[in-house]
Amino acid sequence: MPQNPDQLQQIVDKVSQNLRGAITGEEDSYGDRVLIVARDHVHDTLAAFKAEGFDLLLDIAGVDLLKIEHADRFMLTYILYSMKTDLRLRIKVFVAKDDMKVASVADLWESANWAEREAYDMFGFEFEGHPNLARILCHREFEGHALRKDYPLMKGQWATTASDLMVDLERE
C-alpha cells in the first residue's frame, strides 16, 4: 500500500508548528521522509508523533560518523511506523562525543527498552530515564563500545563469569 505524502506532510507540519525549533531539517531517503531533530527535543518530538498515530517504534540505530566529515561524531536514527495509516517516518538526531546524553523514549514504546540498551552497548549513548541501561549483547565486563569506528575490530575481551539472563528478565 503506497504512503500518502499529503497526510504525512500534514502531520509533520502540525508537529513542527507545535514544537518550534525541534525539527531542524528535512530530507527524503529511499522513499522515507527523514526529519532531523535537535537532541534536546527528542522526547517531545517523538511523543508528539506517537500522539499523531505512530504506534510502532521499529528500531533505533546508532551511527558513528568518525570517517565522515561532520560536526557531531554520532547519530541516532529512530524508525517510526503507523499501523493505522501505513506511514513511515525516520528521525535523525546528531549527538556530540563529549556529551552523549539523549532522553530515553522507553516510556513511550516498550520496544525502545532493548533498542536503547543495544545502542548504549555498541556506541555508548547515555539514555536518560531508561529503566535499566545495561549492556545487552556484550558481556557486562566488556570495556569500550564495539561498533565505534575507533574500536579495534579483533580486540576480544575475556569474560570471567557467566552472565545470568534471568536477572534481566525478572526485572522487567
Partner: protein, 165 residues
C-alpha cells in the same frame, strides 16, 4: 570379537585372558556419551549424525546427555563467543574424568569467518581439544570419522589416568 591383541580363547574353556588396562579402554572407547554443546548450524548436522541414516550408535556414542555429570565427550558444535566462554568452561569443569573434547566445524576450531571482537578464535584457548573437525558445517561422515579417531586415541593412551591428586 576380542579385546585388542588378546583374542578370546576357545569358548569351551569359559575363560578370557586379557589385561585390565585393555578392558577399560575397550569399554571407554565404545561407550562415549556425548554432550552436544550446539550453538549454531553444526548442531543440526550433529542431529543427522545421530539419526538413522548415519547412526552414531554404530560407534556406541548414541547416548546423548544434556548433563555434564553424565557425559564424557564434550562435542562443541558451533560459534563460541566471549560471553559464552565461561559457560562452556564451567560445563567442561563439571564433567568427570576421563573426558574428551571434539571441536566441530570452522567456528569452534578457529572462529571461522567471524574474525571479530565477539568470537573466540578457537575453543582450544579455553578447553583442551582432542579431535578437530573441519568444515562449515562438516558432513556427518566427518563427525563419525572424528569419533573413530577419538576411539583410536583412547586405545593408544594408557587407561589409568595419571594420579592428579
Amino acid at each position: 570379537m576380542g579385546v585388542k591383541g588378546h583374542p578370546i580363547t576357545k569358548a569351551e574353556t569359559g575363560l578370557i585372558t586379557t589385561r585390565l588396562d585393555e578392558v577399560v579402554k575397550w569399554g571407554r572407547k565404545n561407550s562415549l556419551w556425548p554432550l552436544p554443546f550446539g550453538t549454531a548450524c553444526c548442531a543440526i548436522e550433529f542431529m543427522s549424525t545421530v539419526a538413522s541414516v548415519f547412526d552414531i550408535s554404530r560407534f556406541g556414542a548414541e547416548l546423548v546427555r544434556f548433563s555434564p555429570r553424565q557425559s564424557d565427550l564434550l562435542l562443541v558444535a558451533g560459534t563460541i563467543n566471549y560471553k559464552m566462554g565461561p559457560i562452556m568452561k564451567r560445563i567442561y569443569d563439571q564433567m568427570c574424568e576421563p573426558k574428551y573434547v571434539i571441536s566441530m566445524g570452522a567456528c569452534a576450531c578457529s572462529g571461522g569467518f567471524y574474525d571479530n571482537y565477539a568470537t573466540i578464535q578457537g575453543i582450544n584457548q579455553i578447553v583442551p581439544v582432542d579431535v578437530y573437525i573441519p568444515g562449515c558445517p562438516p558432513r556427518p561422515e566427518a563427525v563419525l570419522d572424528a569419533i573413530i579417531k577419538l576411539q583410536k586415541k583412547i586405545d593408544n593412551t594408557p587407561a589409568r589416568m595419571p594420579d592428579t591428586n
